[in-house]
Symmetry: C2
Subunit: 401 residues, 2 copies
């Protein structure tokens, strides 16, 4: 249903680009989705935390999240006892809506909800919290039901816990440091512990099972005895300080990042069939409210053919994929609004007093440069790049027809 005028105006460009930007974004995200790892959240006492964990999982490309619901959770959130996926999604939506909290743009990838509502472009940022709309949520009524579902899916279960017999989740470099310190090594049983429990191997987990379920316990008391007993392994992240634990969303994020470091090939590990199913769903949803809604079949087969030609591992597809998922431009636009709101504070703080900061910076930079490794050599170009970021992406974001 591409309009005749646009087809006439830029047929070469459409041939080259192949997909409208929002679908290229979706296709790029899709090729990085993984089925190798699923996240399991034991019935948390707080839906905000579940929403935060789901958002993090989505950011890492985890496609499936199991949520073991508690009776109180169902009661508090008026969920039906049938554990309908729609139920939990509705609650997550509400939790995300209330959540005007913590969101720092280490990276902006732009959110699909906004793409689906072009009118909101550049103003509505909250939709990025609707990450749950793009993952498969699996509500579970009990731990036994969840374990059964994971086994039926052929999954090895790793539980995260502080159990002394747990296996270390460390990169080789970190494991070497820990060995040097004699920390979390195989130097015998944990202090004060019965000598029957062997220490973890110093290298810890060095590869992932072919199909992994990683289980995070609830906030208050961690993994449940039932899930620990059902797990094939118990794993932990080394900690270095006095603090006893990370909070749930932080722990979930760190564990997922670590698993994907141990096994970077898990990125994009998904069968062609599975990707085809998700593609159909995503493309239809993304085009529903646009003038391109009739073209989804064409786009689906275009992307599917490219995917099939490249095999079931994620690989670059020129013209079909984006080379960057960040959207600096939107953030810059939004900053203008925020600047007004935060203006008074910012002025007082010299937040926008770039000159003062740069002067202070220059004074020390020359000495600092002497001490710097290769990594910082690329330094000075950055401010220019920042300014350049404010240009042009908006146009590219519009559908091609």
């Amino acid at each position: 249903m591409a309009s005749a005028s646009s087809a006439a105006a830029a047929p070469a460009s459409e041939d080259r680009i192949g997909l409208p930007p929002r679908l290229r974004r979706a296709e790029t995200v899709l090729r990085m989705r993984t089925d190798r790892i699923v996240l399991v959240l034991e019935h948390s006492t707080d839906f905000q935390n579940i929403a935060a964990c789901v958002r993090t999982a989505e950011s890492f490309g985890i496609q499936t999240v199991y949520v073991v619901q508690s009776a109180t959770m169902r009661k508090d959130h008026a969920l039906s006892s049938q554990r309908d996926e729609g139920d939990i999604r509705a609650v997550l939506r509400a939790a995300a809506g209330e959540d005007d909290s913590p969101s720092t743009p280490v990276v902006s990838t732009g959110d699909a909800d906004e793409a689906a509502e072009p009118s909101a472009l550049g103003v509505k940022l909250s939709a990025s919290k609707a990450a749950h709309a793009w993952v498969d949520l699996k509500p579970m009524g009990s731990i036994a039901e969840c374990v059964e579902a994971l086994r039926a899916d052929g999954r090895t279960i790793w539980a995260t816990d502080l159990t002394p017999g747990a296996q270390l989740l460390a990169t080789p470099g970190e494991a070497a440091v820990l060995r040097g310190m004699g920390l979390y090594g195989n130097s015998g049983p944990v202090e004060g512990e019965a000598a029957t429990a062997p220490g973890p191997a110093p290298a810890g987990m060095t590869c992932l099972p072919r199909k992994l379920a990683i289980v995070m316990g609830r906030e208050t008391d961690g993994i449940s005895p039932a899930f620990r007993a059902a797990a094939d392994s118990v794993v932990f992240l080394p900690m270095y300080g006095f603090a006893e634990s990370f909070n749930l969303s932080v722990a979930t994020a760190l564990v997922l990042q670590r698993l994907l470091e141990i096994c970077p090939e898990a990125h994009g590990e998904m069968s062609l069939e599975r990707r085809a199913g998700l593609r159909r769903d995503w493309f239809e949803r993304l085009l529903r409210s646009t003038s391109l809604r009739g073209d989804h079949e064409r786009f689906i087969s275009m992307a599917g053919a490219d995917d099939a030609a490249r095999g079931d591992k994620a690989t670059a597809g020129d013209g079909l994929l984006m080379t960057d998922l960040r959207r600096g431009n939107k953030r810059a636009m939004w900053n203008k609004k925020m600047k007004r709101r935060l203006g008074a504070v910012d002025e007082q703080m010299g937040r926008f007093d770039v000159e003062a900061a740069v002067t202070a910076s220059k004074r020390g930079r020359m000495e600092a440069q002497r001490d710097v490794g290769d990594a910082a050599a690329t330094a000075a170009a950055t401010p220019a790049a920042a300014a350049a970021a404010a240009a042009g992406e908006e146009a590219a974001e519009q559908p091609t027809a």
Copy 2:
């Protein structure tokens, strides 16, 4: 001031162990503390978030955290304009106290506050949130002041931001995956962006400057233009999904974990002099309310001598350091209390219905095992280890005299 009786009862053991457990814990934490990386938090709008970030930094062994305070923050929290460290610490204490939120025991390391109050052992867990008591907090009145302080300390400044010209923070394995996908690579300028800004090098940052300050922007709008302009480099974590950003505490945790992966040798990188100063402070505080308070000089010189003999890198010191910072036992004790509170819910959910979960698990395990890599080979031993965790550490935790 060790009592004569205990000295007579176990002189051999004291010779061998050298330090009371709480000081061994502190000495172990101290040897993993780093000065190579400092964390800088731009004036956040929420003290809970700052508290969460400080706790995470502490867990990773980051000793110094700069907090750029805003005028509203000072007003809301009745902080003096002199930016006294005590002020901000008091607010963090309050924030931590109110915070009965998210704490999942991926690892338990035990907290020093509890050690300082033996009467609370095994009951009071909230003190783990007092992580801020064990880091150097540097309140800053403005960005320019903060930049100046960082330069005076000889620091290279990296800001985290979505700026398209930013450098990738990726491990080599992840960078390879991204290259394969053509994502965040040097494949030309970011889509829609002026071609003047070069793409980041595909390998991203592969080493850290000798003295690094990593700056996290505030929740609402990320890094400030002033800090971005003052930074030597801007860095970002690759994201793979639709979600636009991680929340602040999650982003901080992921960035710190990544920096320490890129540069594992940063763990424990601190001068002997600096460690000596912290040791004196920590040991005095940890012994203040105990019968050993008169012995701190002896312990300080004992630990200091060992440290000096081993050089300024963290290395194992038999008898002076712990081999594991987790405290499974306390969590197990606490679970008993929590079980009562959560009993009704748990019973409904089969949370403690270990048998049902194990049965469900066994059914699928054999098939799953076929698919599993080496890593899961260690599987079955875990439940036994979990049970063993409930034993004995309490005794070892008592001071030797």
